[in-house]
Amino acid sequence: MAKYIVKRVILAIITLFLICFITFFLMNAIPGGPFNGEKAKSEAVLAALNAKYGLDKPVGIQFINYMKNLLHGDFGVSLKTQRDIATTIRESFKVSAKIGGIAIIVALICGIVLGAVAALNRNKWPDHVIIFFVTLFTAMPSFVAASFLLLIFCIQLQWVPVWSTEHPSYVLPVIALSLSPMAYITRLTKTSMLDVLGQDYIRTARAKGVRPIKVIFVHALRNALIPVITYVGPLTASILTGSLVVEKIFTIGGLGSKFVDSITNRDYPMIMGTTIFLAFIMVLMNLLSDLVYKLVDPRIQLD
């Protein structure tokens, strides 16, 4: 186990370093420095600015400096707003994390319940209805779901108010974010539940006269949920990338919309900082879900 943890942590660190590396050098490959704005600056001013921000040094040294700052939690300064990127990320991520966190919980709970219901009613109408919607939602990109939700419930029916900072309404963004991961979790739970229900120990439990409720929840569902744990990592990634468009559609000032804005504004330090931050969360969640997976099920071979 310890060996496995060490191996996984090392892989995660390599991945993160690689992401920083790729991000830094890709952003540096773009011609034109950060100070080549609309207003032409004199050579002396440019040189002074470059020296101030350490941009006159070779790229390798710049990278090392960037990494050093990164480890101290310093992401640099945004070109557009001149604000500290770490502060911007921290503030806007609060909003995103709240919506994303609720979306993850909603997706997990609804997905597991629907998957279990579908598996227990195999080939009956609840199964067919659930699978119909699951198939539909997996084919629906998050921006389509979000736009339709906004169109129907905010604009046409006016049931839900449009997002504002004073009166945040989490319902629609959360639904938009959680629909497609929920569909995937439903599928996953159904397959795994069907697999478990066919096992010998379920038959034994039933033969012993254990109450059906107990068989379903204690014997079947607990074992069926193990594959779902591995999906928590990719689930986080999918919710984070989904938040880029969903926040834009609902005009929520979270990290996702900040990231998209920085792309349109060509705010390279901001793109860099946000990418690294998002990647860090994704890698971390992947690592955690993998470790929990091995912890929960001792039958899984550690290789």
């Binding site: 991945t15 690689l18 011609p31 389509v144 990418t275």
Partner: protein, 359 residues
């Protein structure tokens, strides 16, 4: 014979199972027929296709795709508008033709039709804010989606299969190193890297002079490059796993002991046996690629203007969503329809071609 029957020969050994053949009756021709193989021998591909045809959802999805492809290919020949052309009436730009509802005509067009008694080709999906026919733009957006899906899945097919085959066939150290690389690529958050590469390519590369590619725009090229760089790892892993398993089979050993060459073993014994996995993975890659393209177009990293894409159309439609909801509905519904059809076919293919699931 009857002699033998009447006087059974003494057994040579009390425990021997020595059976007298004369005790048996010859099978009649009719009885012999029962052991004949009744089903015609089929190839793997034919067998899979037969099962695929039995799946009503797959057949329906197939026809939906056929209809979509037909519209996609022939609509630009029928519809007299082009995707970047502003509607003109009698050679004059019609500024009143913005944001028309489906099948609606602008005032100028109506006047023209009344004057000459002719019919102008209707705007099946209305027009956009720049007075362009929306139907033809959605058609071109669909073309982009299909092109991305098919091209990306082909790239995944070629790179993934070759990489996985090499790694799986040689095994050992080669496999170890190749799979570590796959592990690392696999753990990269792909969409973030795609966004990053798109941003960089947008600034640094210029393909506008290259014939077909230029029209699609740099972002499309960067998307293809990224698909080539990142998306093949899933395929490589699957192919490698399959080959590792197939390599252990006795028939491979038999072929080897009979002196078959390595390339013959790969061609005749290994590749046909992992064909099912390759087909299934390729089919599932198409909707995934279409998804990614529409997502990137939506956040403004897709095809270059004025070429439309379903994602960028949906994004542009957001601003006027309250007044012109159909501008959002048409491209969004097209994406859902295409991805749904491909998904259903992909699932049906998995059921039809995966021998492990055969009942």
């Amino acid at each position: 014979m009857s002699e033998n029957y009447s006087i059974p020969a003494p057994k040579k050994h009390p425990l021997s199972l020595q059976i007298d053949p004369a005790l048996f009756e010859k099978a009649t021709d009719e009885e012999k027929k029962q052991t004949d193989v009744m089903a015609e021998s089929t190839t793997f591909f034919k067998d899979g296709m037969r099962r695929l045809r039995k799946n009503p959802l797959a057949v329906f999805s197939f026809w939906v795709l056929v209809v979509l492809i037909m519209i996609m290919l022939f609509a630009p020949m029928v519809v007299p508008y082009s995707y970047e052309e502003i509607i003109t009436v009698e050679g004059v730009r019609d500024k009143g033709a913005a944001n028309l509802a489906p099948f609606q005509y602008s005032a100028k067009e109506q006047a023209y039709m009344d004057k000459y008694g002719v019919r102008i080709f209707p705007h099946i999906m209305g027009t956009d804010e720049l007075c362009r026919d929306y139907f033809i733009r959605v058609v071109y957006g669909t073309r982009v989606s299909f092109l991305v899906g098919i091209f990306a899945s082909l790239m995944v097919l070629v790179i993934g299969t070759i990489y996985g085959a090499i790694s799986g066939y040689f095994g050992g150290k080669v496999d170890l190193i190749m799979m570590r690389i796959v592990d690392i690529i696999y753990s990269l958050p792909d969409l973030l890297v795609i966004i990053l590469l798109s941003v960089v390519f947008k600034e640094t590369m210029d393909f506008s002079s290259v014939p077909v590619v230029g029209k699609l725009g740099t972002n499309m090229v960067s998307m293809f490059i990224v698909f080539g760089l990142l998306y093949w790892v899933g395929m490589a892993r699957m192919v490698r796993g399959e080959i590792m398993g197939i390599k252990q089979n006795e028939y491979v050993l038999a072929a080897k002991s009979m002196g078959a060459s390595g390339s013959r073993i790969i061609r005749r014994h290994i590749l046909p046996n992992c064909l099912s996995v390759i087909i299934i993975m390729t089919a599932q890659e198409i909707p995934a690629a279409i998804f990614t393209e529409s997502y990137l177009s939506f956040i403004g990293l897709g095809v270059a203007l004025p070429m439309p894409s379903l994602g960028s159309l949906a994004n542009a439609a957001r601003s006027g969503m309250q007044s012109y909801p159909w501008k959002l509905v048409f491209p969004a519904a097209s994406i859902v329809l295409i991805v749904l059809a491909f998904n259903l076919i992909g699932d049906a293919m998995r059921d039809a071609f995966d021998p492990k699931l055969k009942n």
